[in-house]
């Protein structure tokens, strides 16, 4: 049976063993537990294509996915929906109306895959298979005149897609 004094001594010993000063001189308890390799998850797709999953799809199958999953909010043509316009717009928009579509504004095609897989369809995010995401991404790139209808997109192909407005993006930060 521990005495209260024993408890204090034990607690003190634990702190002494675990606490390590951080560079700002603050002792922290260092309670982080090791994240095992099988526990490391990420759905980030990077602009160089890193993070893109296996799988593939083209605009023909993508049109079917779009009709079932996207059309209700984004419209039959991608231009006439109740929510964000996905198709059209003038590259390098400088004045209103500012149609910031994949074709006219977005700098990276990889961001489109990342976003569709991450957050769409709005009511059931995460419900599309990777093949379906590739397909609907291919469909949107085709409708924006970026790729041919029969191009099958996979990780390698999508990484190579250049969007027309890419060169107009810049930053004070050094970017790869």
């Amino acid at each position: 049976m521990f005495t209260s004094r024993g408890l204090v001594a034990t607690a003190f010993a634990l702190v002494s063993l675990n606490a390590v000063s951080d560079p700002k001189g603050v002792e922290t308890p260092r309670l982080g537990q090791q994240l095992e390799p099988q526990e490391v998850h990420s759905i980030t797709v990077w602009p160089d294509g890193k993070g893109l999953p296996p799988g593939s799809g083209n605009a023909v199958t993508g049109q079917k996915v779009y009709a079932q999953q996207c059309q209700a909010c984004h419209g039959l043509s991608g231009k006439d929906g109740i929510n964000d316009t996905l198709v059209g717009g003038q590259v390098a928009p400088t004045s209103l109306p500012k149609l910031r579509t994949v074709g006219s504004y977005w700098p990276y095609a990889t961001s489109l895959f990342d976003y569709v897989r991450r957050a769409m369809p709005y009511r059931t995010p995460g419900s599309l298979s990777d093949d379906e995401v590739y397909a609907v991404v291919a469909y949107l790139l085709f409708k924006n005149g970026v790729i041919e209808e029969d191009l099958t997109l996979n990780a390698a192909q999508l990484s190579k897609v250049n969007l027309p407005n890419r060169q107009r993006f810049y930053s004070e930060y050094e970017l790869p």
């Binding site: 982080g32 602009p47 700098p107 991450r118 957050a119 930060y173």
Partner: protein
Amino acid sequence: MAKKQPANPIANSAGNGLLDRRLFLTGGLASLGIALSPVVNASESTINRARKPWMQSPGRALGDYGQPSQHEAAVVREGRTSQVGTLGSGASRTPLQDLQGTITPSGLHFERHHSGIPDIHPEQLQLSVQGLVKQPLKFSLNDLARYPLTTKTYFLECSGNSAVNLGPNPALLTCGGIHGLVSASEWTGVPVSYLLDEAGIDSKAKWVVAEGADAARMNRSIPLDKMLDDALLALYQNGERLRPEQGYPVRLLLPGYEGNTSVKWLHRLEVSAQPAMSRQETSKYTDLNLDGRAEMFTFEMGVKSAITSPSGNQQLTGKGYYEISGLAWSGYGPVRKVDVSADGGKTWAAAQLEEPILDKSLTRFRIPWHWDGTPCTLLSRAADAQNHQPTRAQYTKAKGTSGFYHYNAMQAWRIEADGGIHNVYV
């Protein structure tokens, strides 16, 4: 020979009735002939022993969680809008014109969500620190709460705040309706640097991608230097655990940065050599310039101010004394100065800044004013150590009107002869 009159210490400090900001301190109101009558007439209060209804019986019971007076029920978030067909993908604004001081009541903090407000059980949230680190780590909420905590007061501002003033005609909205995507809170949490140091940062690391656990898994790339400098994992807001709409149980809080980067419902920090170029930091939250080029990663919110009282859609009740009061802030550091004009920008007077003037927080400014009953235009302009708030004309000349984000030009309020007040461009 007539003696020269000593300078009047309470002379007007700028045109159209702006008085010296130290008026109250010097007791100058009385010498101006403005009578300060006592609130209750003493002789009447001793004679009149009648009790008001609320004094005739005990009041209501003690309560578990206090609410504002029922007589303040009209003070609510305003301008609530969500994308068509959704209820939680949009924004609601702080009613700045109804509030005083600098701390925003938690329930009136502005909201901006991309896929509604998730209901997260605190025991089920795990924060992962992974990517370019020596040892990927996971933390439970209980773990985080055991770290040495830091409390700081910071403003948070959506970078789309005030953008309605880029429109061709001034919108006839309240101050909150125009500028209410800014709020300030006392935030308590764990410096992000503690966890990054514990995981061990790889020498190639330059960015950290923060991801939320909402349905949109909203993510932003943050420079590693910012994360190591003053980034906070906020657990508490104004003394209590975060409100669900502010990221319960843990959010990122990046002082001075555009609000979107302070990712709510945080569950993952991914250390990397490059930014993710997520949708939010490319197709949204980038600054479109006049030449068609768009700047990415414009994080700091520029220096800004707005008069909250008197302000749009309020009503002056007749000529005479008013206090002009408002808020100023900058994502670059403490507010250094606020000037106020009551003649459309022709002349300016320095407003009193209320202490404490905190770094990257809201600062309250005040200046007394005597309205002569004629139409006029009120303006405020703020400055920090390096930057001056631009006029609307200066801003739109430099940046155009299509950029949408980071609009920080001066707000003008037109006061009509009947005391009505509305938004105006000067």
